[in-house]
């Protein structure tokens, strides 16, 4: 029984990073109804900038963290300005492909900065394991879980207690009505993008410091994990993103313990596929996303 709980606990820990990544995706998708394929790479740019400072100048950890988040935000804003803002309502596929092109651009820019396959990354704690009764917990992951809870709480406050949050929720509900009510849709979307990138930057920093290394696969990894977690939890749903991330983490760690590392990814994809087929809305999402899109009057995702 104890090993099962331990594995589940590990899964929850890992899952909290996936949850944060999915949160960024969900925020962007909820507001823009489009998929940002450059999300992972923009986190990578921030992380690589931080790593560069760490390696070249021995920067302290908090500087690396600030740079990582700031870098992600800069990259995110760049993506929004180039791929999403200029393309009108309905050009969903075009902006997605455009964001993919920028994915390649950002990834190559990062690799030009730091060409090796992996680099050391500063860690937040000494790495000693904490014991909670019969269970063992890694403090880095505990920090990640705490950060996820804190960010979720802060986001909730933002969404429900501020004007900006009100505008955001209005746009998620119906962007046309929101703009008619006087909400500056474009500026709010830009800020939402920046916020999502910042959250992603934090997630990236925490994961890298827990692993104490950064690899060239960061961009692809962040994009895939965030996407899968978001879909499991429910398309565009913010609580769904967190739940989806935790579920993904638990599934992954259990599969790895039972069958080995290769099956871990296979299990994640398998579960996602089955879930999509059986319950396309995910755990929290609406069962028919297309209906709400139709109400939007022409803001269809697939047509131009």
């Amino acid at each position: 029984m104890i090993p099962f709980i331990q594995t589940t606990l590990d899964g929850v820990m890992v899952g909290s990073s996936y949850g944060l990544l999915a949160l960024g995706f969900a925020l962007i998708f909820g507001v823009m109804r489009r998929l940002n394929l450059s999300y992972g790479p923009s986190i990578m740019v921030g992380a690589y900038l931080g790593t560069l400072l760490y390696i070249q100048f021995g920067a302290p950890t908090y500087v690396v963290a600030i740079v990582a988040v700031a870098g992600s935000v800069m990259a995110g804003v760049y993506v929004e300005r180039l791929c999403f803002a200029p393309l009108g309502v309905g050009a969903g596929v075009a902006s997605m492909v455009s964001s993919f092109a920028i994915w390649m651009q950002l990834e190559q820019a990062s690799l030009l900065m730091l060409p090796r396959h992996s680099y050391p990354f500063p860690s937040l704690t000494s790495g000693e394991l904490l014991s909670v009764g019969p269970l063992v917990v890694r403090p880095d992951y505990l920090i990640m879980l705490a950060a996820m809870l804190a960010i979720t709480a802060a986001l909730h406050l933002l969404l429900y207690r501020t004007r900006f949050g009100l505008g955001l929720r209005a746009i998620i509900e119906n962007s046309v009505a929101a703009s008619l009510s006087g909400i500056d849709v474009r500026s709010t979307m830009l800020k939402a993008f920046a916020l999502a990138s910042a959250i992603g930057g934090v997630a990236g920093f925490l994961v890298l410091s827990a692993n104490q290394q950064v690899t060239a696969m960061l961009g692809m990894w962040a994009t895939l994990k965030g996407l899968i977690a978001m879909m499991i939890g429910g398309l565009g749903s913010i609580p769904g993103a967190i739940v989806g991330g935790l579920v993904l983490g638990v599934i992954e760690v259990h599969s790895q313990t039972l069958f080995g590392p290769q099956v871990r990814d296979l299990a994640a994809y398998g579960v996602l596929f089955v879930l999509l087929v059986l319950r396309p809305g995910g755990i929290f999402g609406t069962a028919a996303v297309s209906e709400s899109a139709a109400h939007r009057g022409g803001d269809r995702w697939t047509t131009t």
Partner: protein, 313 residues
């Protein structure tokens, strides 16, 4: 012909297949991130048939295309009723699952004292049909383009047929198409099957061209690239994705002096291009204008009557 040029043209030819595969699905309004899975299935199947079972080349290609089509049918049945993004992610999940399965797949036969066959992560080496049977690089390139030409001819016929019109109708507005009497699900399934077969055919050709495939080749990058080719080159005609492939691989060769910055330049160019032309270079409007210029009288717009089967008088 210079070997290097033959190689590049052969590459363009083979990648065009997977680009056309994604394009066909895009016509029906479905975005697929997973066509590379059928490309992989076609590659492995064709390789197994020729290198391990020592059967003729055409049988291998046919088996690859059939396997691709069958797999697409198998996946399409549960997923095609999903909408937009959910379908896209489902295809992505499927393709990645297939890729990981190939990493675990081991099936080897001993030929002339050496093991031949798919070997998990190491991939499938020594698909040496064209060397064992003295097919020159130029001959193989002609085979590739011959098959590509037949496929394009098929698309040409499709665009002028009721089925092709049905595809585009569904792509524009599935609900309206259903209201007009188009059997949406069946038509989408047919499109998926054809797309899978085209990708499978391309995969078989790819395996024999490079003599070596490994699971890492068939990753998400290939899938999104094949989608991007259609978007860049234009969704108005089957030449669109081909144009996209030529631009990408052609730019590859010409911007050699950009060396380490190629992706940065290319990515930026694509993003700017999509701002100006969201449906690609050869989009539907441009193609329609070209057709009007070329023909003496403007082509009749397809009417609903034609789709429903009543002959226009």
């Amino acid at each position: 012909m210079d070997d290097h040029l033959t190689g590049i043209l052969s590459n363009i030819g083979v990648i065009s297949f997977v680009a056309l595969s994604a394009y066909l699905l895009l016509l029906t309004g479905e975005i697929s991130f997973g066509q590379q899975a059928f490309f992989a299935i076609g590659a492995y199947t064709a390789g197994i048939v020729t290198a391990m079972w020592q059967l003729p080349f055409w049988l291998g290609l046919g088996a690859g295309a059939a396997a691709g089509g069958a797999a697409a049918l198998f996946v399409g049945l549960p997923t095609l009723r999903l909408h937009g993004l959910q379908f896209a992610i489902a295809t992505l999940a499927f393709a990645e699952a297939v890729r990981i399965l190939f990493e675990l797949f081991r099936y080897q036969v001993v030929r002339a004292g050496e093991p031949v066959g798919p070997n998990g992560i190491e991939g499938f080496r020594n698909i040496r049909y064209i060397f064992e049977h003295d097919v020159s690089a130029t001959q193989f390139m002609l085979i590739i383009y011959g098959l590509l030409g037949m496929t394009l001819f098929g698309f040409f016929l499709l665009e002028r047929s009721r089925l092709g019109v049905a595809f585009r109708m569904i792509g524009q507005d599935g609900l309206l198409a259903a209201a007009q009497g188009v059997p949406v699900f069946r038509v989408k399934l047919m499109a998926a099957c054809l797309a899978g077969a085209i990708a499978g055919l391309g995969g078989g050709l790819y395996a024999h061209l490079t003599t070596y495939v490994e699971p890492a080749i068939f990753d998400v990058m290939l899938g999104v690239h094949s989608l991007a080719y259609g978007l860049i080159g234009g969704l108005g005609t089957a030449f669109g994705p081909l144009l996209g492939v030529v631009i990408d691989i052609g730019l590859l060769e010409s911007t050699r002096w950009f060396a380490g910055y190629r992706m940065i330049v290319f990515g930026g160019l694509v993003a700017v291009l999509l701002i100006v032309r969201p449906r690609g270079l050869l989009d539907e409007r441009l193609v329609h204008r070209i057709r009007r210029l070329v023909s003496r009288r403007p082509p009749p717009a397809p009417t609903n009557a034609a789709v429903l089967g009543e002959e226009p008088s």
